[in-house]
Symmetry: C2
Subunit: 496 residues, 2 copies
Amino acid sequence: MSRKISTKPPSGMRDFLPADIARREFVIAKVTEVYSRYGFVPLETPTIENLSTLLGKYGEEGDQLLYRLLHRRDSLARALAADDVSEATLADQGLRYDLTVPLARVTAQYSTLPKFFKRYQIQPVWRADRPGKGRFREFYQCDVDITGTTSLLAEAEVCGAVAEVLQSLGFDNFTIRLNHRALLRAMIRAAGIDVAQEGTALVAVDKLDKIGLEGVVKELEQRGIEAEQAGSLLGLMCCEDLLDPKSELHKLLAKIGCRNLMQWTVSGISAVSDFSEEELETRRNEMLLAYLARLLPQGDEAGQAAVKELTEVIGLLAHTPAGAHVSFSPHLARGLSYYTGAIFEIAVPDFGGSLGGGGRYDNLVGMFGKKDIPAVGFSLGLERILVVMEDRKMFPDLKVGPEVLVCWKGVSQQDVLKVTHALRRSGLRVEAYPEKTRKLGAQLKYADGLGVAFAAIIGPEEVEQGSVTLKHLTSGTQERVALGDAVDEAIARLSS
Amino acid sequence: MSRKISTKPPSGMRDFLPADIARREFVIAKVTEVYSRYGFVPLETPTIENLSTLLGKYGEEGDQLLYRLLHRRDSLARALAADDVSEATLADQGLRYDLTVPLARVTAQYSTLPKFFKRYQIQPVWRADRPGKGRFREFYQCDVDITGTTSLLAEAEVCGAVAEVLQSLGFDNFTIRLNHRALLRAMIRAAGIDVAQEGTALVAVDKLDKIGLEGVVKELEQRGIEAEQAGSLLGLMCCEDLLDPKSELHKLLAKIGCRNLMQWTVSGISAVSDFSEEELETRRNEMLLAYLARLLPQGDEAGQAAVKELTEVIGLLAHTPAGAHVSFSPHLARGLSYYTGAIFEIAVPDFGGSLGGGGRYDNLVGMFGKKDIPAVGFSLGLERILVVMEDRKMFPDLKVGPEVLVCWKGVSQQDVLKVTHALRRSGLRVEAYPEKTRKLGAQLKYADGLGVAFAAIIGPEEVEQGSVTLKHLTSGTQERVALGDAVDEAIARLSS
């Protein structure tokens, strides 16, 4: 046996020690409670899925980040004996990459599920991604989804559930960014960009925060999209900035010589004038949607329908805990390729990434070769929530571990077990010092280090009396009491 | 996209639908509650471990059952470009195979852990084994372990905890089989078998239930162990049967011409005579241990020490919930190669396999190249417990899913959301029928199928009044009440 085995977990993976678990379970309990109250029921799917289930659902990058399981024994021997040995021949199973594709598989598989299947799922997923702050290779997602309906009530339900989870955890200043896949496509069309370049265009716009407006235009030009079109796309996707004639965007479009700029500015003035000053604060989303409806060609039915759908979603969200947090964000893209309608993402001011995201995906279940079943869902990232909550010190004092350590001297191990079990029967979390020591002091010191509130000390006298000496460690006060109900009372007295 | 993707989970893996999860969580909650009361603290380790951590810990068969993760990108390209392409070059990470080796790694890694680390861990493990009843390729283990001490109090604690878990789940007739690795080795020595053949001998004896006494002798002969030695080994390992001169074992040893038979029979009579008739019932374990101490050479210090240790463990267990269930079983072997002291296994009458097992492993942490840390643990198999509990119908009625379905007609979706959230605020689990329908009947029928207790019906009148009509589905009685506190009262009234 090598003497140099690393004892660290692999890169991007973590060990969770008791205090970590207490925080994780605190969050998971809140998530479960809220999701259940919203009528969602739990589902769990296997860690290992067939690659035929996983491949082609997450886009090309997703496929590359999948963990694949090496064939074993005969299958491996056959694969290695073949002329062509490759990733594709060496594995046909992989690790769960998200919770949405497994849900789609489950929805296609079980005919006993309710027509409107409202499920929550809290499980780890694995991605061979570069690790970073709040980004791991094994991480938990907390998903809610509703399958079987295109009703926008479903959008309202998943957004409402997620917002209530965050509120119950103590978050107040979070934003649920909202956009629509069909609207993104309509903006690309309206900017005169070929729909075949949709993916390319969205990847570039997604870098806006990092590389700025001019950076995006440059990047789009490198990908064969003219500055005029790039500018138009930015104008549409960041149309809120167009309302301010002094904005960077305004200047950029003027510099590029964007033909639409004048007309768009006039439309903006007109859109704003439909709302009172107060309404511009309280009804920002509706105003922006109305503005964008004017910027898009009136004949673009898909685009206009998307605007109408988002307006309706926002109207519904007003009656859920998500209402005050929703923000129409026409430049929100979301990477996963399976979305078809509304898309969501949660942002908080002090964390770069999103705390979660989701959207409507009406074609994913149909990919499994059975009938199409529409669906919409929202996924919270447990680790990111934990990172922010730890940074902001949002956790209450979470008790973990034993409350009492049984310390003993001059008695038998059988006596120790008798007392230990008597204390446990009164519901206390009790550990017994396992080894014989010459001095009680060492045991009391160990009790201190362990963080228990009480030491239960037994010696020959206590054994003879059927009693125990309870010592409150922080105050140092102690009482000798009979085993049984007296213990509860003494614990309460000494703790106060 | 292929139209023929299988939607079943891979072989040996399972989807857990809501009712399954309710049963799993019921058991996990009991396990967690008892383990915590025994002073154990939670630990979780990553699904993926380095193969250097896993290999060589579980014996040859274990190594073969490990799931290995295929290298990716550059690492894969390098592996494929090499002259020698094999399982060893294609992977350096694998899936968690048990919870004991990760604990050993964690114990070696973190210097901040308490000296006596009492941890519980409830997580899935993966083995590419042949699936069977209660045997899956992904399954949960519920482990308790205590590191840092050789005190037998630790054996008593883990056995006590596991016994209390089973009792709290409603099990009464289970047996905790107890044996000792050093005792097994002493019996092999005493039978005149080369210690190098220990593994071989134990594998053969392990098949006793399947192939019978003569089958074991034949199997041992095939492996080069003489019938005389094989008989002696069986005589020692099944010494309880030697006490009955009419037993199959007695006949077999007579047939083989076992030289020890006469002396062993006399020792048996003498051992039994030390105990009263009543004691033979209540102190069977001590009597058998005393008998075995006579059968082993008096000069075999390791063997005699193991007998003494087991006697002590049994004395301690008498003061724990395990006391009434422990049964000294000198033929119990346990497959895993890392055990060094006492070993345990749980058997129930109506299930072939064991519900769990464990033992002392004082050298495993040291394998990670740092100091030796002794340890002892017990592992419960969640799935096997579930299988037996389902067969025996041991589960209470577990409520899962929403309690109320909001049914609506002639009102807006915004009204639906208002009422739905008002009901949720009173703590109810509430689902809203998501789609507009022409008839309420369809929604009520859906509520029935969903298994909710109540339909909350809203129409234009209810909206105007700020009320809701609550219909108790099984009785058909209904009441119209104002939203708010009146709802709780009506729910209580209608449920009674």
